[in-house]
């Protein structure tokens, strides 16, 4: 088995490693609004394929319908693929299945916490009560004595919270 394939290599093993190479090129691209999380951590990266002609197609799914970071991330993906030798690449957006915070990786949750953003607390599949509120721990001091300031924060995916123990405001990556 060759150590690394090239885009001219048409053997199955060559295509496989091309795909792996394309995936490696894009997996580390970060969400510009949460720069500690990659599209892979977020679960936004749904697929990478490279066809017989060496054309790479990256499939991503948005977190929120109107997420303005999508355009930046698509551009970053195309630039990264171009730098990796995939000149004629495409990015496709899929809506189904709809993105959920359950796809956030464990590594991603830890990075969020370390960055000062409380990770989503609850499986998104349980339908929320109309006036239900999550119990969120402060990412700074760990206290459960927190309160929600607003369900809508600086980006679509975050809510604003405040810690009653250490008095620090913080972002919460809300369940979707």
């Amino acid at each position: 088995m060759p150590a690394a394939g090239t885009s001219q290599d048409s053997t199955p093993a060559g295509r496989l490693s091309d795909t792996a190479r394309a995936r490696a090129a894009v997996a580390g691209i970060c969400d510009p609004e949460i720069p500690v999380l990659t599209i892979e951590d977020l679960g936004m990266l749904r697929g990478v394929t490279v066809d017989d002609h060496g054309q790479a197609v990256v499939t991503i799914t948005p977190t929120y319908s109107g997420c303005p970071a999508m355009f930046v991330m698509k551009t970053d993906i195309l630039c990264a693929l171009d730098a990796a030798g995939f000149a004629d690449a495409r990015v496709e957006t899929v809506l189904s299945p709809a993105w959920t915070t359950d796809w956030l990786s464990d590594a991603g949750r830890e990075k969020l916490q370390a960055y000062g953003i409380a990770p989503p607390v609850r499986a998104s599949t349980s339908r929320r009560a109309l006036f239900g509120e999550d119990s969120v721990n402060c990412p700074q001091c760990g206290s459960a004595e927190t309160e929600r300031v607003s369900e809508f924060g600086s980006t679509s995916c975050k809510a604003l919270y405040r810690c009653r123990s250490c008095a620090e405001p913080f972002d919460y990556f809300k369940c979707l």
Binding site: P62, Y64, S65, L130, S150, S154
Partner: protein, 261 residues
């Protein structure tokens, strides 16, 4: 006598959905920098952004449907549909084009919309049309947040001071008659219901009533009498406010045709 151009009912059905979300999103954008508090400014902009994102998916799909049904020819892009139609070609419901008014009017308008769209998108996840089902699955999660946010404000305002109560009750009375348009069925929606793509909108009234009644009760607000209704938006017959929205929404494309960035 020349009748109206025969249009694919699915195109028309998707366009109505797109126009509702676009125009309401545009209205919310008007609050940017003007909301009562910074947190609420962010919330209204976030909700507007969700709606704008939904409308983009819907416009793109509407353009594809139109392109297919017309055969060859240029497919209208999301921008073509959003920016380059005349007022009579927009088919949003009248509720969403009503002016922002005071904060109570904006919250009541949003609440009435979210109380309808939440069960609507929820049911549309089972649509026979895969694209619409996918957009629905994405949108319903966002609408649940909108509905909860507006419901909390309804209660805070209705059960707040005498003035906030009065303003919220006035807003309810002023907007109530526009709600019935969401539940109307016509040739377009019936055609989509028959093929399993769309829903029986009238059947969503029960769930809407349950949601609205529960919130109004907690908010100590009185449900208005159903003594007037106004509709026409689906046929392109708009209130006097629509042209003003479009003059702002379409300004750049009208001033600099074909511009992009």
């Amino acid at each position: 006598m020349t009748g109206p151009e025969v249009i694919d009912p699915k195109f028309q059905y998707v366009l109505r959905l797109a126009d509702d979300q676009l125009i309401l999103g545009q209205r919310l954008g008007e609050w940017c920098g003007h909301a009562p508090t910074l947190e609420e400014d962010l919330a209204l902009a976030n909700i507007g952004l969700d709606l704008l994102g939904q409308s983009r998916s819907l416009f793109t799909y509407a353009g594809e449907i139109e392109g297919k049904s017309k055969g060859t020819g240029k497919i209208r892009s999301e921008d073509d549909l959003a920016f380059l139609r005349h007022e009579r070609d927009y088919c949003n419901a009248l509720l969403v084009e009503q002016p922002n008014g005071d904060f109570a009017v904006t919250i009541v308008r949003q609440f009435l919309h979210a109380a309808f769209m939440t069960p609507y998108w929820s049911a549309m996840t089972a649509s026979a049309d895969e694209t619409l089902a996918a957009i629905a699955a994405k949108s319903v999660k966002e609408l649940e947040y909108h509905l909860r946010h507006c419901s909390e404000w309804m209660i805070r305002l209705g059960d707040g001071t005498a003035e906030s109560h009065r303003r919220t009750q006035d807003a309810l009375e002023g907007l109530w008659g526009y709600v019935s348009e969401f539940f109307e069925m016509d040739e377009v929606s019936n055609a989509m219901l028959t093929v399993g793509v769309g829903l029986d909108h009238a059947a969503l009234r029960t769930e809407w009533d349950v949601t609205v009644n529960a919130v109004l009760e907690r908010a100590t607000l009185t449900r208005p009498a159903d003594d007037w209704t106004q509709s026409g938006g689906r046929r392109g017959l708009h209130s006097e406010h629509m042209g003003h929205i479009l003059s702002e929404l379409q300004y750049m494309q009208r001033a600099y045709p074909g511009m992009n960035w």
